[in-house]
Symmetry: C2
Subunit: 476 residues, 2 copies
């Protein structure tokens, strides 16, 4: 059954039913509230889903304008996907009915299965047996579900307060609801999303099935995945390596320690693998193993928004000398070294202000001294970005409360966009977080990713370089 | 001269003139703008400074209501501190005049000294010789200056858009302007501050002088310091160890790598020490060495807002099981282990919801199932916080957009405040960053620090435990 998803052509993949359904049945309670079937339909509508929705509940005739059906069997047309949000005890019957109806994909949001207790584990085993026997694929149980931004498909069962996700090419996968819209502030992160999937207890569809699908998903160019354990270590590494050859794959795996692994087992019932073995295997397979939750969401930006990195020499344009030293330290841990600017660039920069022509380029003293910073900054940024001795650029830029420096930065970013084919990452800092966020959003609109610290921006460069080295090894 | 500041009684310390001046002369241009003497006086006034300000500039008769003087000598009364914000070439003469006037403390904001070029280094050497000969103490040059929140003393020469800092007991020191109000969003961080000091090029007053002062500063209970290098490694470690015995001292030292050290030398002209030696010495001396810029600002909260930690067993109340596993992994790196709840607590929790009585306590499934979460949550929080098997508490709490869960949390925090003598740290997460920030601010108003991630909250616990172990070694 699992091999169904390993075909190179995604059109045949059953998993496309989860991410690109045209017809969706939602079995649940439709009381208004912050959680449940009502919210799932509301989310779909607000997200701009253009497919057909079938609410299923015998107590309703209509939900948010959609005709409601007493049961799945009562639906006339075919159904690509059923989303089940009812008490765990009733799930088996609904999924069995779905099988009878010819439905091939089910998201079981309901909890109270293997993660809860022994009787829940029994319910889950019955579900697994049903899936094996009847060929229906199940995401979950105990999941916050799936999202596809391009299709306007966001059946989030919790009210996140926002419904449309920024369309992009990053897939976020997890074994936890923590990466779904109700838990993570996607709008504030400005991350462009292709798919989101919480595998939950992964009783059937697991990380390998998902990676098989994402490998060939044209919408997805970068994959982030959070795992507490892997069902089949060998298969995971084979699958992940195949994905990593095509697109960057970031993996955050918890359960590193004995205590963590035990907790993981009790949380989702998944098995842990020896962490050091896993770590070594990841390096071998070109998997970018990360160690912080935030890594899943901001590191992908350098891959989805920027060209690949061709070398390990970073140029830095910084409003503050202190951050330059820290960035150099941080870079060293990824094999990233400060570039020596070419004589031409150096002389050009020195012509604006004494001492400016040294990397890291400390623009702070100049900025308070000259009157035409807005004209000068773009020239400096272009000079550093186009220097052949520089492979990537880290900007650390102060956003004053009047927005004067910011105007210079935006002008600079607009102009380097036309001349620079290297990764450019930035940290916009300052005394007012709203102003910094606004400027960072504008910089990202121009195509250049911003990070919440200089360290995180450098980490993105380091990950890009790690991936580039892996790709070179493949070609060699 | 330097020994002046090593007296145990701070009243005699010359450095108190920098942080608690009653009369301040500001030599600079007073044009309105985003930087300079005008802004420094505006900042002082808005911050509520109650001392006397003497603007010094022969082109003005009055600045922001304060009579302006042509020169320092023209001021009638005595002056505790002079702040110099003029072109580097004129600084020597002003400081010399300050000496003649009997002023014993000068902050030289001006840049263009050793950090710039050779001629700047000559100017700096002249300044150092003057200080040595005449006994005036100098902070800087190339500094954003000093701040004392309790005294309303904030002469920030850049317009930060805010002027009053939240009064607290954390001192933030640096060799960079990055920790001063114009660069760091103190209001958003909600950090309670005692002093801020940018040592700049530290031509005279250095980190040791500053630590000598802060050691005996009653306003300060925690010290964070960013250093690129130390002038005298032996003296620094002796001083730092003495401080660490009295209050937690967090040190972020850059220039760890050879490249970083070189950049540091060119940035502020300070010498670097061998990093591994420094690291070992820090551990020995009880100094909490940190590795990220953000550490300087949020880790201190656990020390300034919470009781000391008595053991290494953490209890966790989490809306999400996934974060529990990650927290356990993270904790292990600091020697923090998950507590086994006592039978009594466990049974009590299980009575609310099946499976709840296991640490990490996963409240998510219960929260969507029960109707009286607001009544139940505080009881759960109290049960975990008062369990004798638990030494500290990590909360990972989802903030829904309707604020319903938040009300339960605030009720819980209000109540544990009265019964819990253990550190409690929290991460408030959710789909809306403004809502999360607002709830976090309310939680901090109740006295419990909030962090921007589960990892950072656990790092704070780890640092608290590291410090506790150091203190125990001292007593033993």
């Amino acid at each position: 059954m699992k091999t169904e998803c390993s075909n190179a052509d995604n059109r045949g993949s059953v998993l496309s039913l989860f991410f690109e359904p045209k017809t969706v049945a939602i079995v649940g309670s439709f009381r208004e509230g912050f959680f449940g079937g009502y919210v799932a339909i509301k989310s779909l509508m607000e997200a701009g889903f253009t497919g057909t929705v079938y609410p299923v509940n015998r107590n309703y005739t209509e939900v948010l304008g959609w005709k409601s059906y007493p049961s799945l069997s009562d639906i006339d047309g075919s159904v690509d996907l059923v989303i089940v949000i009812i008490n765990s005890k009733g799930v088996f019957d609904v999924v069995e009915e779905a099988c009878r109806k010819g439905i091939r994909a089910a998201v079981v949001v309901s909890d109270g299965f293997a993660e809860r207790d022994r009787s829940g584990a029994v319910l889950q085993n019955e579900l697994v047996a049903l899936a094996k026997e009847r060929g229906i694929r199940i995401v979950g149980p105990n999941t916050a579900g799936v999202v596809s931004s391009w299709e306007g498909f966001n059946p989030c069962p919790y009210d996140a307060g926002y419904y449309r996700l920024k369309q992009g090419s990053v897939a976020i996968c997890s074994q936890s609801g923590m990466t779904n819209p109700q838990a993570f502030p996607y709008p504030a992160s400005r991350l462009g999303i292709s798919r989101i999937c919480d595998l939950g207890n992964k009783c059937d569809v697991d990380e390998c099935d998902l990676l098989d699908y994402l490998e060939n998903d044209a919408r997805t160019t970068v994959v982030s995945i959070y795992l507490e354990g892997v069902a089949d270590g060998k298969r995971f590494l084979e699958t992940a390596e195949r994905v990593a050859r095509k697109k960057p794959l970031l993996v955050l795996k918890s359960g590193r320690t004995a205590e963590g692994a035990r907790a993981s087992a009790s949380h989702t019932g998944s098995m842990a693998v020896n962490d050091m073995t896993f770590d070594a295997a990841c390096r071998q397979a070109g998997i970018l193993r990360v160690d912080e939750f935030a890594d899943l969401f901001d590191i992908p930006k350098i891959f989805s928004m920027q060209p690949s990195i061709k070398g390990n020499r970073f140029g830095m344009v910084s409003y503050t000398g202190g951050m330059g030293v820290m960035a150099i330290d941080r870079g060293a841990s990824y094999g990233i070294v400060p570039a020596s600017l070419s004589g031409k660039t150096s002389a050009f920069l020195d012509s604006f202000f004494p001492g400016l022509g040294t990397n890291p380029v400390d623009i702070g003293p100049m900025a308070v001294s000259i009157k035409n910073f807005r004209e000068v900054f773009p020239q400096i940024e272009i000079a550093v970005a186009t220097d052949p001795e520089v492979d990537c650029i880290l900007n650390v830029l102060w956003c004053d409360i009047r927005g004067e420096s910011s105007r210079a930065y935006l002008e600079g970013f607009s102009r380097i966009r036309e001349v620079c084919d290297k990764p450019v990452v930035s940290w916009m800092y300052g005394p007012n977080v709203e102003i910094c966020s606004r400027i960072a959003a504008q910089v990202e609109e121009l195509g250049f990713p911003c990070f919440i610290s200089s360290e995180r921006a450098m980490k993105a460069i380091g990950m890009a370089w790690t991936y580039e080295l892996f790709r070179r090894k493949l070609v060699a």
